[in-house]
Amino acid sequence: MNRRSLVLPAAGLTAALALSACSSGGGSGSSADGTTTIRFVAADYGSNGQNPTQAYWQGVISAFEQQHPKIKVDLQVINWNDLDTQVKTMVQNGNQPDILQTGGYADFAKNGLLYPATDVLSGATQQDFIPAMSRAGEQEGTQYGIPFVSSARMFLVNNALFRKAGLDPAKPLKTWDDITAAATALKKAGVEVPLGVPLGKEEAQGESFIWMLENHGGYQDASGHYTVNSQANIDTFTQLKTWVDAGLTEQSPAAVNRTDLQKDFASGKVGMENGFPGQLADLKGMDVTWAAMPSKDGATNATLGVGDWVMAFKKGGHKDQIKAFLDFAYGKDNTVKFEKEYNLLPVTQSAAAALQADPEEKALVPFLKILPTASFYPLSDPTWPGVSAQIKTQIGSAVSDPKKALDALQQAAQQAGQ
């Protein structure tokens, strides 16, 4: 065999490896025939691979491309677990998408990577947003985050288990003492998990925040300084610890993720928990009560509201194409369809009105009603995404040693962004 013929394939293989290392991503830009391609990265709201969000966006995009033959949209739907790191890698490699739909915008805005919302939304689209939601997208007076969907939490009770324990599910729990009494009764009646407190890393930042709010605490004070280890928060976790030690919750809340607890609730093993509208589909046909959040003193029933965001990156320079796509995607029919599909709450006034008038969506109405009073994470703070990631893995240990865990997180929060 000719020696040369051995070398060439091997060299070719090496070159191919080197090339494939460079060619990941990319693909946005203008081609010779005048069509412009914009890259759109979105989160997957489908659970367990069912009703994938890819299908929804493909539908929107093909309708959009028919109307705008000069614009192509290159879609990439990524699941929530990998979304942050993949986007981070894109930015690190200077390969950011034109449009991103994810959980937070503040750190991108802080780095000057984003178009202001006014640059990429037409006047009509902009005026349709619920004003409070638009304001939550502002950083230092300029709106960068464009609200996409929202959600709110309510207290969820399994009526059958309550009756089994001799409790009246129609009589809502008002205070933490009520929770203690109900949980004790549920435990006596043999309920596996009387009170579900999922402090596993999946959603620990949200679960903790709800309990903090019920004791007039929270992550930051009014002036935007972190107060993770405030006395109110320490008291909150001391109460949670009392419930855990008394066996009224799952044995190790720090190791229980929200998704798993929801499954346990749906299979009738959990007496009560902080629920959210995404569970409505799973709970169809189950006898449950959605109620206002009980609080320590019964004086507040503040709850957590969450929002997901759309943002437009400056790097590609496709302002006009982004604007055309966002105006199309935020049309009422599209937003209503998405919110119905995943039981999410609207961020536009037109969609809110449509959902409230829809008899099939009666279950969403209580959530729509409490949304204006809900508290949000410190969304516009650029340090929040990093702090939130640390809270997720560490705050669970606060049910064993409240002060130590919260002190450590407070210290980490103060160091973040330095």
Binding site: L17, N111, T393, Q394
Partner: protein
């Protein structure tokens, strides 16, 4: 390797040339002058691209200031290493990594020695049991880990059901809920998935031991235990060392067992350095890279020990 001109001929060669005259040397082509380089180049390029380049990237990332969006804010010096070594969770993580590696590798080697001995005997059904041993190896480690995670679950777990029905416990336990309970289970699962490879390595070693030496031992009146200690074990040493070192590196770097069962949690109580590195990645890529550099150093150390040991092995033989 390649001289720039053909006139620079070493004296030895010149002498030979006078003894046995050859046709005059033609100007060598460029390809010939490159010597073995064209044959080495693909391998060298591959190593540069796949091994060296990522290492360089890893080290340089650990010296940068990179925020949660992936934006680079310039050099950070050794800041991230200070942050890493100042992390209150790190001592526990390092301690558990050492315990984890020693416990998993130690148990794996011991059990594998026994299993290899068993499978080296003739008994009915040996072929089937040998095949069965491959099962934990053939299944994806992550799949095995997730399977165990659900078997050990507090609410849905089959282990709780079994123990409750047998009356051994009076209420369900969260077997992976705290470090004290989770760690032994993690070790058990890691040993379970490491056994097939190690057993087969040792079995291969056992089959190279010639029958005559056992015969000689029997003739000399050695007891079975003496035979095992004085004949089998020394002859098994090469296979044993290979299994030991490969397991050490594998287990030290092991990610799927711990990630699949506890994700390093609660807190970072069951995280080894590899898992901890992955947890840090969520909010500080540079600190995570610093952790990788430390890990890389440990693996290099293990490889050096391996090379020393295999040289010692070669000399003894």
């Amino acid at each position: 390797m390649s001289h720039s001109t053909t006139t620079a001929v070493p004296p030895g060669r010149a002498a030979r040339r006078t003894a046995a005259p050859e046709p005059p040397v033609r100007r060598r082509s460029l390809f010939q002058r490159l010597g073995p380089l064209p044959w080495l180049a693909p391998a060298v390029l591959l190593i540069l691209g796949v091994v060296v380049w990522p290492v360089v990237e890893m080290v340089s990332t650990s010296l940068r200031r990179i925020d949660t969006t992936g934006t680079d804010h310039g050099p950070a010096g050794l800041l991230k290493y200070h942050k890493l070594f100042g992390d209150p969770r790190l001592p526990a993580v390092l301690g558990w990594t050492a315990v984890w590696t020693v416990a998993v590798v130690g148990l794996t080697m011991l059990i594998s020695l026994a299993l290899a001995q068993l499978f080296n005997q003739q008994f009915p059904g040996r072929r089937i049991t040998r095949w069965a041993l491959i099962a934990p190896w053939a299944a994806s480690v992550l799949m095995t880990a997730i399977g165990f995670r659900w078997m050990l679950d507090q609410v849905a777990g089959v282990l709780n059901r079994l123990l409750l029905d047998l009356g051994l416990i009076d209420h369900s336990r969260a077997w992976l809920g705290d470090a004290a309970h989770a760690r032994p289970w993690l070790v058990a699962v890691a040993v379970f998935v490491s056994l097939p490879f190690t057993t087969y390595t040792l079995l291969a070693g056992l089959q190279t031991v010639p029958a005559e030496v056992y015969e000689a031992a029997r003739v000399d009146g050695a007891t079975p235990w003496q035979t095992y200690r004085k004949v089998t074990l020394p002859l098994l040493r090469p296979a044993f060392l290979v299994g030991l070192v490969i397991n050490l590196i594998n287990v030290f770097n092991s990610f799927p067992v711990i990630w699949g069962m506890t994700q390093g949690g609660p807190n970072a109580d069951t995280a080894t350095t590899t898992v901890f590195m992955y947890m840090l990645r969520g909010y500080d890529v540079a600190e995570s890279a610093a952790m990788s550099v430390v890990n890389f150093g440990v693996v290099i150390l293990m490889v050096i020990v391996f090379l020393k040991v295999s040289r010692w092995n070669g000399e003894e033989n």
